[in-house]
Amino acid sequence: MLELKNVETGYGHIQVLHDVNLTIHAGEIVTLIGANGAGKSTTLMTISGIVPCRRGQILLRGQEIQALSPDKIVALGVCQVPEGRHIFADLTVRENLDLGAFLRTDKVGIKQDLEYVYSLFPILAERRHQSGGTLSGGQQQMLAMSRALMARPQLLLLDEPSMGLAPLIITQIFEIIKAINKEHNTTIFLVEQNAHQALHIADRGYVIENGRIILADNADKLLSNPDVQKAYLGI
């Protein structure tokens, strides 16, 4: 589905990603874990075309996308829920959701997906006329994910969906990530600090340190890897 080959990016004179290689197969949940500042968000922003890729290739179903503009990449079915949610605060919940479907024209399908996300998160249906900025943190996360789902993505990039949420909500969010993956066969690339939960729902995982991928393995193998346990699982 997605393949990064020798990707390097940075900001100004600082290089952040060094020779990043990773592969995500269709239908998988793949997680990327790493410490603060390791380059996880930068990796997602590079895939989405927001941070320009300086060297290397990003292939989506074999097609090079590293030179495309962000809107073209969304049109190819890659959507991101960025870190910090980025809700359009002055727009209503409903308008936020409509914007998720910005590039779609199939009215019937959009309506179905709206019903679908309302069924996943009934609170959003209840609050649909309220402005996005007035939602609680957890509700905003639900809205951010729903907005991405409204694009009916083939590949969903999630940047720390559990950040700042209560344990109960985290469990719910992870359940829903799994459900989206199962029911819609949506491929998921999940960036997390919460390595434990992430590795439990993921098929495979990558570990990034200082902009370099230092480990890649099946999720259960990573869970039992002593280095990972020490550094990211607090065991």
């Binding site: 075309g49 927001i50 962000p70 809107d71 969304v74 980025h86 002055d90 914007l99 910005f102 590039l103």
Partner: protein, 300 residues
Amino acid sequence: MDYFIELFCSGLTRGSIYALIALGYTMVYGIIGLINFAHGEIYMIGAFTSFIVATVLSIYGFPLAAIVVVAGVAAAIWSSAYGYTVEKIAYKPLRHAPRLAPLISAIGMSILLQNYVLLAQTSDFLPFPELIPEFAFMEPIAHIIGSSDIVILLTTTVVMLALTFLIKFTRIGKAMRATAQDRTMALLVGINVDRVISATFIIGSALAAIGGLLIASHIGQINFAIGFIAGIKAFTAAVLGGIGSIPGAVLGSLILGLTESFATGYISSDYEDVFAFSLLVLILIFKPSGLLGKAETKKV
């Protein structure tokens, strides 16, 4: 009392013209965080375009209503072309540069356009044809409000309603609001932000051009420098209302227009600008974000 109402009406007229120009400042600022100093010149170019079209058409003896419409459309299109081009050549290449760079580029563009019109046209004041006749049915109240005031008020009202509709309900309007609030997220939902920015410049320029036509016909003369003072006044109005806020720009413009009108009427026309800018200073001291502006305008 009649005098008061007369001043009130002329203040509203003035304010609604300012609003047409101020909207361009505030919309561009809302989307890319730039004070487009060349915007006054776009308005001036709109006035010149409508002058040329109206003069030619009246030579051929077209009816007044047709002249107004054709001149207005031509001015809107021509000014939009300028606004679009200015953004592409002077601001877009500087989008990731430090904030001062596009600002200076904007001042440069303003000077360039003024001098270009000065050279291409003339430095003299040109008599602008009177496009709006005195309507017979206005006769009884003509001492309070003139026909052209009424036309200006009606036109701006219609334009504002159309703009509100566009921003609230259309696809491009939603894209504009999204881009103004969060550019990165707008990109992530698939909005072509370059296109949104262009659309903003086009809409703002068209509004300014309509303002140019209306005021030129109201005052009866134009020259290459009219964009400067009108630009500063409209900018003041936009800041007064809270730059970046569309209702703010309209409110600020009306307040400014009324203040000037009353100051001129009750004190002296010499103090018109003093009052306008004192108002700005007071707002900047007591409510720097403007009347309807957001306190935290942290634009990156």
